[in-house]
């Protein structure tokens, strides 16, 4: 660890390190924590215990949470199935529908910028005899409805397309997809982990049949999520993927995580009540960040459609600067990069590559994820710091120098290694 020689004076409202990685996870809202605490101690009952007050107390709390979650997405309480998180929800939705509707067909449609919890589940389905179509996205990160229409055939049982992307914040045309699927009698699942609580989601207006969500992206606890499963028009059936006590209408066995569920419910309630105000605040901060960066730096690129975009997301490439070196220079700020060097696989972001961006642009990308607890003063600090470090690294960058001299970098014969 390097030692800090002297603490620089920080402006009011800034405390280091700054957390600006709210697509990865969010800090728990103190109100959520407060709601959860009794269920870790004296209210410890099993929600499935039907014959004493401990169980009733827990069940009541779970029922309230179901209501709170359902209300946020326009569903009914009975349509909410609790899981351990979005990865499980996505697995349960895709595998459970695949298994249940196998006789009707074996074709699943998804798209290339989905989270790995969807993509890898689909890959496994392929090994088990299902056909999967991976729709491309355009340069904005959006699927084309025409591609989806063309991909549907008489064996298609499921379309699974995310509501909003975790890297580039791009919002897919969920309502249009839902409408099409509804007309064609195909089930529509959406991984709405990044969208729920951030933008309005209504399962009826959008014709969503199955929806994954998780608590820790909306200022709730980790390790708890939910799957919305439509009960009417149509009644969706899902084959359980774990055997056990038959909890959650037989779709997901396992004793309910009551404190976690209480937290998820509370988080949904807060999100519903405060979404409008929070969105305005986030949009103002994001635009401020973007403007500051754009007015102080050349060779920068905003990734993904800004028109169909989550309010708290900004994904930018600082061309000719490698992402990991940039993160190293702003180590008092928590953000993410699409650089290969920051990934376990040493491959640059597949999401950015899917937009048709070169690997070099992906290597240079930074994802800013603004959230409930960020302040405008933090935005100013982050913008200044990023500008500073990008300039410093460009002084070091042979590519920036060559680009400034007018050399076309695509014409240089590089030695790939």
């Amino acid at each position: 660890m390097s030692t800090v020689l002297s603490e620089p004076k920080l402006p009011a409202g800034v405390k280091l390190p700054i957390y600006m990685d709210n697509h990865a996870t969010t800090a728990m809202d103190p109100r959520v924590l407060e709601a959860m605490i009794p269920f870790f101690s004296n209210k410890f009952g099993n929600a499935a215990s039907r014959n004493h007050s401990f169980g009733w107390e827990a069940e009541q709390a779970v029922d309230l949470a179901r209501e709170q979650i359902a209300k946020l997405i326009g569903a009914t309480a009975k349509e909410i199935i609790f899981t351990s998180g979005a990865t499980e929800s996505n697995n349960l939705a895709i595998k459970g529908i695949g298994e249940m509707y196998r006789e009707r067909g074996n074709h699943i449609i998804t798209q290339v910028t989905e989270h790995k919890a969807v993509l890898d589940t689909c890959k496994r389905m392929e090994k088990q005899g299902y056909r999967v179509t991976y729709l491309p996205v355009n340069a904005d990160g959006l699927i084309e409805m025409e591609d989806l229409k063309r991909a549907i055939d008489d064996k298609t049982i499921l379309v699974t397309i995310m509501a909003a992307n975790n890297e580039i914040g791009v919002i897919q045309p969920v309502a249009e997809i839902g409408k099409l699927c509804h007309e064609r009698g195909i089930l529509f699942h959406t991984d709405a982990v990044q969208a729920v609580g951030k933008i309005p989601v209504d399962v009826n207006a959008m014709n969503i049949d199955v929806l994954s969500l998780t608590a820790h992206k909306i200022y709730g606890p980790k390790g708890v999520g939910a799957l919305y499963v439509r009960r009417r028009n149509p009644r969706v059936q899902i084959a359980a993927q774990m055997d056990g006590g038959g909890h959650e209408r037989g779709m997901r066995s396992g004793t309910l995580n009551v404190p976690g569920i209480v937290g998820l419910g509370k988080a949904c309630e807060i999100a519903r009540l405060e979404m409008a105000e929070e969105t305005e605040k986030l949009l103002a901060m994001r635009d401020r960040l973007r403007k500051k960066l754009e007015s102080n730096l050349d060779f920068i690129h905003v990734n993904g459609s800004m028109e169909h975009h989550l309010p708290g997301n900004l994904n930018m490439s600082f061309i000719h600067v490698e992402g990991e070196s940039l993160l190293m220079g702003i180590n008092d700020i928590a953000v993410s990069s699409g650089s290969a060097c920051t990934s376990a696989t040493l491959e640059p972001s597949y999401v950015l590559k899917a937009l048709g961006l070169g690997d070099d642009v992906a290597h240079s990308s930074i994802r800013f994820g603004l959230g409930r607890f960020n302040t405008p003063a933090e935005v100013d600090y982050v913008a200044d710091k990023v500008v500073d470090v990008v300039r410093k690294l460009r002084e070091l960058s042979p590519l920036y120098e060559m680009a400034k001299e007018g050399i076309d970098l695509t014409k240089v014969q590089w030695q790939a290694h």
Binding site: L396, L399, E401, H417
Partner: protein, 142 residues
């Protein structure tokens, strides 16, 4: 990723950053790596034609902190050495000095390549009788 103190030190205070006249016969330029791989190093040396001693070295690097540190260190090490001595520098020496983790070994390989490429370029400009004109690693055209 936790960086060693030495990597952080080179990153914060990179040595010998800059550019030399690549058309000068006294200067050898090595440009290695590729933008799509996430690292490009340019290492330049200025060689005394009489003594074949590397009198100055400059670098610029696009890459992660370890790549920057590796090339910064490489410029420090080649300075004052003859070109033949500089060719003895091995990537493993760089790994050791900077305590690079396994996933960053390619950064040190690239730095060694950059040294060889720069010396190769200088030799090509200053063909010496009885000596091969170029070092094993070719110089990227730019």
């Amino acid at each position: 990723m936790a960086y060693s103190d030495k990597v952080i030190e080179h990153y914060n205070n990179p040595r010998n950053v800059g550019q030399m006249d690549k058309n000068s016969t006294a200067v050898g330029t090595g440009l290695v790596g590729a933008p799509e791989c996430g690292d490009v190093m340019r290492l330049q040396i200025q060689v005394n034609p009489e003594t074949r001693v590397i009198e100055d070295a400059k670098f610029k690097t696009f890459g992660c902190g370890s790549a920057i540190a590796s090339s910064s260190l490489a410029t420090e090490w080649v300075k004052g050495k003859t070109v033949d001595e500089a060719l003895e520098i091995k990537n493993t020496d760089i790994v050791k000095e900077l305590a690079l983790p396994p996933v960053k070994i390619h950064c040190s390989v690239l730095a060694e390549d950059a040294i060889r490429a720069a010396i190769g370029d200088w030799k090509k400009k200053n063909v010496v009788a009885g000596e091969p004109a170029s070092a094993p690693v070719a110089v990227a055209a730019n």
